[in-house]
């Protein structure tokens, strides 16, 4: 019994070791090739037992080559170049790529290191071609229609992918994205930009002060204008209100017409009372009514 148990364990161990020798897994983030006597063949996704577990003959009959298909980032150098309008700029960009076709990749590039080296050369040449078609204003501009960074990236990505695909012997890689992450001036240009910045700001400061005074004057003038308009309309409506009182005069005249002379007399003495209310000096002859009464009484006496 003991012997049987030992035998089973031994057989199991042999089976496990055997399976290790004749199977392989292709990871979720991998693509694989199977070389049979040196002739490579692509291993498709799935298709194995339990998905990505595959059988193979032991080495040297068959050999498995696996590539990690994650996105790889390749940063180009900060490279000085001239734009279409002759401006010198320093641009740095990156390329995000992945191995898409491991068979083609294996046949043409073999290793990731080799691919990186060749891609770096290709990037430099092709990016120079693309950006030489654009002016400096296309790299930095406050006008969104003139700013072409995204367009440059798109064209560059297309051109790079096209070159890689059309190259003698496809590379088997896919350019996922490209990005311009540095746009700089040449060292010689920076002092001039510093000077221009200073001059511009000084000019803007003077303009700003002038604008401030102008705006302030305008605000005050508008306020004065508005004030006059308001008072003008207020005066109009005030006169309309006063006119209501004047219309009462017309009604009164109808009453006074019954004795015009008396009405005028009443208004005159009332006017006199109003006019001669105070601080008035009278020089009156003693023979005037009613002071003549003194003389009349005196004469009688």
């Amino acid at each position: 019994m003991r012997t049987i148990g030992t035998l089973i364990i031994g057989v199991l161990m042999l089976v496990v070791l055997g399976l290790y020798a004749v199977t392989y897994q292709v990871g979720y983030n991998e693509k694989a090739m199977l070389k049979t006597f040196g002739e490579p063949r692509l291993v498709g996704d799935g298709g194995g037992i339990f998905g990505n577990l595959h059988f193979r003959w032991p080495y040297p009959i068959q050999e498995v080559i696996k590539y990690d298909t994650r996105v790889r980032i390749l940063e180009g150098p900060e490279e000085q170049t001239k734009t279409k309008d002759g401006q010198s700029v320093v641009i740095q960009h990156y390329v995000a790529w992945r191995i898409e076709d491991p068979l083609a990749f294996y046949k043409t590039r073999r290793t990731v290191v080799e691919a990186r080296e060749q891609l770096t050369t290709l990037m430099r040449d092709e990016f120079r071609n693309i950006r030489s078609g654009y002016t400096f204003d296309n790299l930095t501009n406050v006008d969104p229609d003139e700013l072409k960074l995204e367009e440059i990236e798109e064209k560059y990505q297309e051109a790079l992918q096209s070159l890689i695909d059309e190259d003698e012997g496809r590379w088997g890689i896919k350019i996922e994205s490209v990005g311009i992450h540095r746009v700089l001036l040449t060292p010689e240009a920076t002092p001039m930009v510093f000077a221009a910045m200073t001059t511009t700001q000084e000019r803007l400061a003077a303009e700003t002060r002038s604008e401030g005074e102008s705006q302030a004057d305008k605000i005050k003038a508008e306020a004065e204008s508005a004030r006059r308009r308001i008072l003008s309309f207020a005066d109009t409506y005030a006169k309309q209100i006063e006119a209501e009182g004047h219309r009462a005069v017309a009604r009164q005249i109808e009453v006074f017409k019954t004795a015009e002379e008396f009405a005028v007399f009443l208004r005159r003495i009332e006017a006199l009372e109003q006019i001669l209310k105070e601080r008035t000096t009278f020089l009156i002859g003693t023979d005037q009514t009613p002071f003549d009464q003194f003389e009349m009484v005196g004469a009688k006496d």
Binding site: Q25, H181, R229, Y237, A238, G245, R251, F262
Partner: protein, 466 residues
């Protein structure tokens, strides 16, 4: 089987025989005959020894197998810590439901087959932060503590590769430091496109690299499309959170867009400038402009204040309603539509003569109302007086007039007036001096008096005024 005599090597390092017994050749015992056959008892002892050794070896092997078996099982248990999620690869294939990877929640123990059947990849989900500290900044070792700015600035020239900076859309050189916080959310995309190493540090390093590049790209595009004024707007260079929210959103959006393009499974939570500053060489000029802007704002604010004061004095705090109504009225006038004009006029009149207005307008309207009321009241009183006296007048007009005049005359002279009586014949009528200002009147009279004296030297004026 022919027995071989024992050799010295068989005796081992201590010269013992294969049975483990020790022979002392110097004790005088007779030496065995090397050609004599091996005895049966010697054979049994050897077999027993071999059997014992095999039994012990198998025992050790069995224990080893059990230990291996236990380890195999234990190795399949895994726990997911807080702030991480786990996904499982079975024979290399991601265990998923539909397109979504099956994730294992933190805080629990889960079971999996040991590798190489299953492979567990734990992914950190804690919010991570990346700072672009040097990418757009200039290098300097010494930093002013108060200003937190490097003491030395390459005022002559900036060297690519040494001094980081950004170019604005109007070709100004600016510097900045950018903070980005992100979180790994898409486990499936992350392990496929960024890293499936299972090593937290390596995975985060790869994630940082993706975020850094995407952030640099976004910063170059955004700053390259804006003016230096926009870059500086709402900016206090000592403030830690100085990004205008719109710009922060744009930064976040662009970084996220690039990460999505790369299928990184990373979600950007925030992106904001922690420092922004223009090239220090030109900074005095920028400061001067900032001061000019401040002065401009001050001037405009003062003008606004004065304007408000003037308009409030004219029409009270609701002056803007009055102006709006006037604008509407004038627009109606321009349109020429009579109905519109009438409606606008009514509205304007209602506002100007209403209770909302104040200031000079209110006083004008109030005065007008008062005048109107006074006129009406006075006319009413006059009318009543006229009406009440009319019948008497019609009967004895002269008598009534004389009486009324005498009454009025008496009332006038009984007030605070000065009265001088002159002899008969000197002046047929009264002389009235009704200047409102006594001082003016006095001066005027003095001048007149002097003039008269000059004309009629030595003669006295018939008028004496005080």
């Amino acid at each position: 089987m022919a027995e071989q005599p024992p050799t010295p090597e068989d005796h081992g390092p201590h010269g013992g025989d294969p049975h483990g017994r020790h022979h002392d050749h110097s004790h005088g015992h007779p030496l065995p005959d090397p050609d004599a056959p091996l005895q049966l008892e010697d054979m049994d002892a050897a077999n027993r020894s071999l059997a014992d050794a095999l039994r012990v070896s198998f025992g050790v092997l069995k224990v080893f197998m059990v230990v291996v078996g236990v380890l195999f099982v234990i190795n399949g248990l895994f726990k997911v810590e807080e702030n991480e999620i786990a996904v499982k690869l079975r024979f290399g294939r991601l265990v998923s439901v539909g397109n979504e990877a099956v994730t294992y929640a933190p805080g629990q123990v889960h079971v999996a087959w040991p590798e190489p059947i299953d492979r567990i990849i734990k992914i950190p989900t804690l919010s991570q932060s990346v700072e672009l500290r040097e990418e757009f900044w200039w290098n300097s070792d010494e930093v002013d503590q108060e200003d937190d700015l490097p003491l030395e600035y390459p005022r002559d020239r900036l060297e690519p590769g040494i001094h980081g900076y950004l170019l604005t859309g109007d070709t100004n050189i600016v510097h900045g430091r950018l903070n980005i916080s992100y979180r790994i959310e898409g486990a499936r995309d992350f392990i496929q496109n960024v890293s499936a190493s299972g090593d937290t540090n390596e995975m985060l390093a790869r994630a940082d690299q993706f975020v850094r590049l995407a952030a640099q790209q976004a910063a170059v595009k955004i700053v390259g499309g804006q003016s230096v004024d926009s870059f500086q707007r709402s900016l206090d260079q000592k403030s830690a959170s100085s990004s205008p929210s719109g710009e922060a959103q744009e930064l976040k959006f662009k970084i996220q867009a690039e990460l999505d393009r790369l299928g990184a499974g990373i979600k950007v939570e925030s992106a904001a400038w922690s420092r922004r500053i223009v090239a220090l060489t030109a900074r005095p000029a920028f400061d001067a402009k900032t001061k000019a802007e401040s002065e401009k704002r001050q001037l405009v604010e003062q003008a606004d204040t004065q304007s408000t004061t003037v308009l409030k004095a004219a029409a009270g705090s609701q002056y803007d309603r009055v102006i709006a109504a006037i604008d509407a009225y004038e627009a109606a006038r321009r349109s020429g539509n009579e109905d519109d004009i009438a409606a606008a006029d009514d509205k304007l009149a209602a506002i100007i003569t209403g209770d909302l207005v104040g200031g000079q307008v209110a006083r004008m309207i109030s005065e007008a109302r008062s005048n109107s009321t006074d006129i009406e009241e006075r006319l009413r009183a006059e009318t009543e007086r006229f009406t009440s006296l009319l019948s008497t007048y019609q009967e004895t007009p002269e008598l009534l007039k004389d009486l009324l005049w005498q009454d009025a005359y008496a009332r006038i002279l009984s007030r605070t007036v000065e009265t001088f009586h002159i002899p008969p014949g000197m002046s047929p009528n009264a002389y009235f001096d009704i200047s409102a200002d006594l001082e003016l009147r006095r001066q005027d009279e003095i001048e007149k008096y002097k003039k008269r004296r000059t004309e009629k030297e030595g003669s006295k004026s018939p008028y004496l005024t005080r």
